[in-house]
């Protein structure tokens, strides 16, 4: 779907991290957690390509002073890292963006009776909030949130409000436990109940470490990848990642945009 979206708010929630709330057509309400959108930051050629962002939250609100009933909205949580995100951060309420999405394949929640373990590194937390919001309805949900330093730990209160049990860690120990999020994860894994699933999003090394843990403990694990993208719809083949059976003779490339961004970790090659 391609639609125009009006910014409702755009707020700095931690130094360099913004939360942007936008209107969406009702049909966008069917997006599943882990899907993403591509934003055309400006109607100009600088920046040229759309920027991909996970869906942080999605819902509807009652409109005021109108007869429209409810309005669908969604939110993204983004970090300012370059030109596009910098420009995004300077936009105001009422500005209009061109959006493509929801795109890709999201998380598969699986059997509600099991425990859901979310692992988020830095802004990788973004798609996990919408996932948690859906999953807390039926399942026990724990969140392991890691970051380099305390500024990289985002929206923990929001998760807690959902009833998610949260474990925070920072590399430099300025907030929560000191160390890597995957270390904390492994420590608390043994304590959990039997039927678990891991849902992870964050930098590649974190995902790799998480996949290793999942493999070692034989826990189902879904990871959400990032890749440089041009089209977002599986056409340009810019965003590919190697599938399990990939070799040069029998290429097994998967499009992060279309076959992902969420993959079962066993579907991918991690070397």
């Amino acid at each position: 779907m391609q639609f125009k979206s009006m910014i409702i708010s755009n707020i700095e929630v931690s130094p360099g991290y913004f939360r942007m709330k936008m209107t969406a057509p009702p049909a966008a309400g069917s997006a599943s957690p882990g899907q993403f959108i591509m934003v055309r930051v400006r109607d100009a050629i600088d920046p040229l390509l759309r920027r991909p962002f996970g869906i942080f939250d999605l819902g509807t609100f009652a409109t005021a002073y109108t007869d429209c009933g409810t309005q669908t909205y969604f939110e993204i949580l983004y970090r300012v890292v370059g030109k596009g995100t910098d420009m995004l951060s300077s936009l105001h309420q009422g500005d209009v963006l061109d959006i493509l999405g929801p795109l890709g394949k999201g998380f598969l929640p699986g059997d509600p009776s099991g425990e859901k373990i979310l692992v988020g590194g830095g802004v990788g937390l973004a798609p996990l909030y919408y996932l948690a919001k859906e999953m807390v309805k039926t399942s026990r949900v724990r969140l392991f949130a890691g970051g380099r330093t305390k500024e990289d730990i985002l929206c923990i209160t929001e998760f807690e409000r959902l009833g998610v049990e949260t474990y925070v860690s920072t590399d430099d120990g300025t907030l929560g436990a000191s160390g890597l999020v995957t270390e904390v994860l492994e420590k608390h894994l043994t304590a959990g109940i039997a039927d678990k699933t891991i849902f992870a999003c964050g930098p590649f090394p974190m995902l790799k470490a998480t996949a290793e843990i999942a493999g070692r403990h034989d826990i189902p694990c879904q990871v959400s990848l990032e890749a440089y993208m041009a089209c977002g719809v599986g056409a340009c083949l810019g965003c590919v990642t190697k599938g399990r059976n990939h070799s040069n003779e029998t290429p097994d490339y998967r499009c992060v945009c279309k076959d992902g961004p969420v993959f079962d970790y066993r579907e991918l090659r991690w070397d």
Binding site: L100, G234, A235, C236
Partner: protein, 305 residues
């Protein structure tokens, strides 16, 4: 005045309007079916196909550059057989000409591929990508040497009776010389330009951004070079031309037609706006109407210099 006539003909292929989608930027068509009406564009050009499936390059494969992008996909594709099995059935249901873009790693592969394609009724024509290295000849790019281009086009010409479009590389001193070589070898039409070779660097990592080191520059940045080449070639050859390079709007497309193109291809714009091709076609119609031009063909080569 009724609706303006947007139809054009390229090498015997009738197009409802001059807007095609450029190879490699539109997948196999289906990827964009949700975003535009495939029956309101002129033609669909497939991702470049080879005889055998091709893995392509390592990632990163794309990077944004000022006003453009570099790609080094490495011509990843499913191969001709899988194309016929998996992609063609959908394309058959779409009432729009399908032109297959093809390339070979050797001279022979071009010939074999053309023969295979020649037998497919669903394929309206062939677009031969000669901007790739001849693996057998030390990697020299077919499309930068008039003799090599002549050879490969001649072979393809002998292997098919389908309309034959040859796609020119801009990485040459003399694009007119290349155009002549291809026309002499039997090309029914020429499309230009393919990407300009470029590079991007990550300062902090001190590495090229693309795994392949260099890549092909496309997008608005290259439009002036593309327009110039179309204009130069239009002065020199008689066959119809297809203008490509940085076309984002109907205005861009019509400028290429003034320079001498009979049709255009939209590439990178599909990424910015998946409905770009249709929007451009609609915009061309609106322009003709607003300016009282009955037939888009009036504009072909109508530049006053």
């Amino acid at each position: 005045m009724g609706k303006p006539d947007l139809s054009v003909e390229i090498a015997g292929i009738k197009l409802r309007n001059p807007v095609m989608t450029a190879s490699g930027t539109f997948g196999y068509g289906k990827e964009f079916a949700d975003y535009l009406d495939l029956e309101r564009i002129g033609a669909i050009i497939t991702k470049g196909l080879s005889l055998h499936p091709k893995a392509g390059n390592q990632t990163p494969r794309i990077v944004e550059t000022p006003g453009g992008m570099l790609n080094a996909i490495g011509l990843q594709n499913v191969g001709i057989d899988a194309f016929i099995q998996e992609k063609l059935p959908f394309l058959r249901t779409v009432n729009t000409p399908v032109i297959v873009n093809l390339y070979g790693n050797t001279l022979e592969e071009y010939g074999e591929l053309a023969e295979k394609l020649d037998k497919l009724p669903e394929v309206a024509g062939l677009e031969v990508n000669i901007s790739c290295p001849n693996v057998k000849q030390g990697g020299i790019v077919f499309g930068t040497d008039p003799k090599a281009a002549y050879e490969v086009v001649s072979l393809v010409r002998q292997s098919t009776i389908k309309p034959l479009i040859v796609k020119l590389s801009p990485n040459v001193t003399n694009v007119v010389e290349m155009a002549h070589a291809c026309v002499d070898a039997g090309a029914d039409a020429l499309s230009l330009i393919n990407t300009l070779t470029g590079m991007a660097i990550d300062l902090q990592k001190r590495r090229p951004i693309l795994a392949n080191i260099t890549g092909g520059l496309s997008g608005p940045a290259i439009k002036p070079v593309a327009l110039r080449m179309v204009w130069q070639v239009a002065q020199a050859v008689e066959v119809p031309l297809i203008g490509i390079g940085g076309i984002m709007t109907a205005t861009d497309a019509l400028e290429f037609m003034l320079a001498g193109a009979t049709a255009v291809q939209v590439g990178t714009a599909n990424f910015l706006d998946p409905s770009a091709a249709q929007n451009i076609a609609d915009g061309m119609e609106a322009y003709l109407e607003a300016n009282g031009i009955a037939d888009v063909k009036e504009l072909i080569g109508a530049l006053a210099t």
